[in-house]
């Protein structure tokens, strides 16, 4: 360990700035906004860490990444060592370093934040993971001898991918079934290129392939094949359901069938998965935003991604309409900052009540009502209530609804003995991720509801552990009653 700077001095070092593309340039292209630390900046940033005895950063990371240890390796310029430290707990560091809501997790509780800005843990995580990738030295652990057991994984999002990695390592034969034609779940169809380049996801998938994981796309479990058939004639010993929460919710206001009204899922899928931002080189069309006014409804990462995407597609005015205040927005702080720099206009405490169209059925505007925050509701958040007589219209020809998603239903509806909650999420034991059905495990958004990449990844790893134990013992203690 070579950090010789006294703690007091470390506290004074300024947080290193993440280089990024200038706002006016990036607001017109799909290049990644953040450019990444140079080694020098990474080392200086790591030197800011106080190496706490009981590090709150690790405690606040959902998977308990040993932050101070990996920062120490960076200081020693042992970047591959740093990556190895992270990989003990986190299978997808190049991704989480980019998309974790760090301010609510590791960085939120960093001791340095008491006096100064927190250590840029996310940026550093990304730095070492990118180093590893660029030098082609992603550490591939050796697989245990074959157990002759077969595991099917349903869904290739972060939960499915991380489970797959751990399970092949345990020596099992693993096959991932994915409904879409591309692997990665929300990482490829939802989160845009300018925040998470698809090459990174592809590379993670390639590494898994090298480690022996098999992938089969275009398989919609529940339609193409059922869970019972996987466990029966297809001979799988266990199934991990990681299908996510991708069903779009709409506003339930008049006018939602007008042309020019999208769910965020449709808009982002067209642009990201189908590459409509490169139309006509790619065939999938998306509403032509050039010179148009666009309203995005919602306050989470999805809303932020949609509005920034519309901007990049050429929107003249891109508004973000949210019924609570900016403080209450669940989106990552960095995205909010970037969005504002890119000229997104925030209309807080505003709620759409009607979508207005012309006689041909095309959207022309969004009638909104102003909101104020009232008494705290059941979740402790102050409930927005409409201000009487405050209605007004925002002219727009495209509106994108990003107000949340719900459980993907196809596995549940075709697996009757799988116990679900009222909202159709799958019930699973929080530690082993066993469901009510023997041999079937579930984790990620399909259990928790829309959450985060790191939680889904953590669930995948827990499931791998649970599945490993089940495959060796055959025991199925009932913790979720069917």
């Amino acid at each position: 360990m070579s950090n010789t700077i006294p703690n007091k001095e470390r506290m004074k070092l300024p947080r290193q700035h993440m280089p990024e593309i200038a706002a006016d340039v990036r607001a017109r292209n799909f290049e990644e906004v953040n450019l990444g630390f140079e080694a020098n900046a990474a080392i200086i940033e790591s030197l800011r860490c106080l190496a706490c005895k009981t590090p709150t950063c690790t405690r606040s990371c959902p998977v308990g990444v040993d932050v101070k240890e990996f920062l120490a390796r960076i200081i020693d310029k042992d970047y591959l060592g740093a990556a190895a430290v992270i990989r003990r707990d986190n299978a997808l560091p190049a991704i989480t370093g980019r998309v974790c809501p760090q301010e609510d997790q590791c960085e939120g509780d960093c001791l340095v934040a008491k006096r100064n800005e927190s250590v840029a843990i996310g940026h550093l995580e990304r730095f070492v993971a990118d180093y590893e990738r660029k030098t082609g030295q992603i550490g591939i652990p050796e697989n245990a001898p074959s157990t002759a057991k077969k595991v099917a994984i349903v869904g290739s999002g972060p939960a499915g991918l991380s489970a797959a990695g751990d399970l092949v390592q345990q020596g099992h034969k693993v096959r991932v079934f994915e409904a879409l034609h591309e692997l990665g779940g929300v990482l490829v169809y939802g989160i845009p290129e300018f925040r998470l380049p698809k090459d990174i996801v592809r590379q993670e998938v390639d590494v898994l392939r090298k480690r022996g994981v098999e992938f089969e796309t275009n398989v919609i479990v529940g339609k193409t094949v059922t869970v019972d058939e996987l466990l029966g004639e297809e001979g799988y010993d266990a199934v991990f359901v990681a299908t996510g929460a991708g069903l779009p919710q709409f506003l339930g206001v008049p006018g939602e069938n007008l042309n020019g009204v999208y769910s965020a899922n449709e808009f982002l899928t067209r642009v990201n998965l189908m590459r409509a931002y490169r139309f006509p080189d790619y065939d999938e069309p998306v509403y032509d935003c050039r010179g148009k006014d666009v309203v995005v409804v919602g306050g989470g990462n999805t809303a932020m991604d949609a509005v920034r995407t519309a901007r990049r597609l050429g929107a003249r005015n891109a508004y973000l309409v949210y019924r609570r205040g900016e403080e209450e927005m669940p989106a990552r702080k960095e995205e909010v900052k970037h969005a504002k720099e890119e000229g997104i206009e925030f209309r807080m405490l505003t709620n759409p009540v009607e979508l207005i169209g012309d006689e041909r059925g095309w959207l022309t505007g969004v009638r909104c009502v102003r909101m104020e925050l009232g008494e705290p509701g059941a979740d402790g958040r102050r409930k927005p209530v409409p201000v009487a007589g405050s209605e007004f219209v925002i002219d727009a020809s495209l509106v994108i609804v990003a107000v949340g998603t719900s459980a993907n239903p196809l596995v549940q509806s075709t697996t009757p003995d799988l116990k679900t909650t009222k909202k159709n999420y799958i019930e699973a034991d929080p530690e082993t991720l066993r469901t009510s059905k023997k041999g079937v495990f579930a984790g990620g958004d399909i259990v928790t509801g829309g959450a985060t990449v790191i939680l889904a990844m953590g669930a995948g790893r827990k499931a791998a552990k649970g599945i490993g134990e089940y495959l060796s013992s055959g025991a199925w203690p009932l913790t979720v009653n069917g």
Binding site: A179, L180, H181, T217, N218, V219, I220, K223, T224, V225, G246, L247, P248, F250, E256, N257, N259, Y262, S263, N265, E266, T269, R270, M274, R275, F279, P280, D281, Y282, D283, E284, P285, Y287, D288, R360, G361, N408, P409, L410
Partner: protein
């Protein structure tokens, strides 16, 4: 990759493909469809499964060339392959013993209606088919429809074959005896059938061709107005009670990408050979 093992031109612009897709072949039921993507810059489009052969592991599709993707597909043949085929999607047709059924197929809708007609017949219904086409040489699958039904009437706009007029003209003659009507074809045709049977409250089902992306309920792009509700055609349909469907909304939403579609088609017509070569090149590498 999903190899094309057979391809036959049924009528000008309408081609039948037999494609290797063993998983789907095992599962397909009448009324279900697949989503295909021809190559990696292509779009995803839905196509109904006309029939399948579980032993051989193949499914059969009938494609009418309308825009770029269907035109490109129809340039392909035996020995070529389709990059992605996912399914079977959608709810299977509800097959019951209704009594006397009238099955109406307009244009390529005939292919889509065929498996359901057969299933209705197998379930013990009396099946009368009415096929519509602009002119004689555009009529498809007549022989197969004859096998799948008890009687067949053909209507052509120009009277070049069968009766002259619209399928609804024939329907009106038969309507007194019908217990159930299935209509699949162009939206105006389905709407006219719905209006014809509405006064008599004859149960009428149509298959809606809304614009789809994923086909699994994930995007909501395929939503249609049914009664006072929004439904997703890919998971709640594609078949719906014709008397509940808002056909106006369907037509309006189907026009959403007209400019982009025309741009792609115009480009395709100029670069047909290159586009086909690109698909074949991509196949050769896999």
């Amino acid at each position: 990759m999903f190899p094309i093992v057979n391809a036959t031109l049924l009528a000008p612009g309408v081609k039948q493909f037999e494609i290797e897709a063993p998983r789907i072949a095992r599962k397909q039921q009448p009324g279900q469809f697949v989503i295909i993507r021809i190559h990696d810059a292509g779009e995803r489009i839905p196509l109904t499964i006309k029939s399948s052969d579980p032993k051989k592991g193949t499914i059969t599709l009938v494609v009418q060339a309308i825009g770029k993707t269907t035109s490109l597909l129809n340039e392909l043949g035996r020995g070529d392959a389709i990059l992605d085929v996912a399914g079977p999607l959608g709810k299977p047709s509800e097959i019951e013993k209704y009594g006397r059924c009238v099955v109406i197929g307009g244009g390529v809708g005939t292919a889509i209606a065929l498996p359901t007609a057969q299933a209705l017949k197998d379930a013990g219904n009396h099946v009368t088919a009415i096929l519509g086409a602009r002119t004689k040489n555009l009529l498809i699958l007549e022989k197969e429809v004859r096998e799948a039904s008890h009687e067949v009437f053909v209507m052509t706009d120009d009277g070049s074959y069968g009766g002259r007029g619209l399928v609804t003209d024939k329907l009106r003659e038969l309507i007194g005896e019908a217990d159930f009507v299935l209509a699949i074809g162009p939206v105006p045709m389905m709407r006219a059938v719905a209006e014809a049977t509405r006064p008599r409250a004859i149960k009428t089902v149509v298959s809606l061709n809304s614009i789809m992306v994923d086909g699994t309920g994930m995007c909501g792009g395929c939503r249609v107005a049914i009664g006072n509700e929004s439904k997703f055609a890919c998971v709640d349909g594609p078949e719906f009670d014709a008397h509940q469907v808002d056909f106006g909304v369907l037509m309006q939403r189907n026009a959403m990408y007209r400019d982009a579609e025309q741009q792609l088609l115009a480009h395709f017509k100029e670069h047909r050979a290159e586009e086909v070569a690109r698909v074949r090149g991509a196949c050769a590498h896999v």
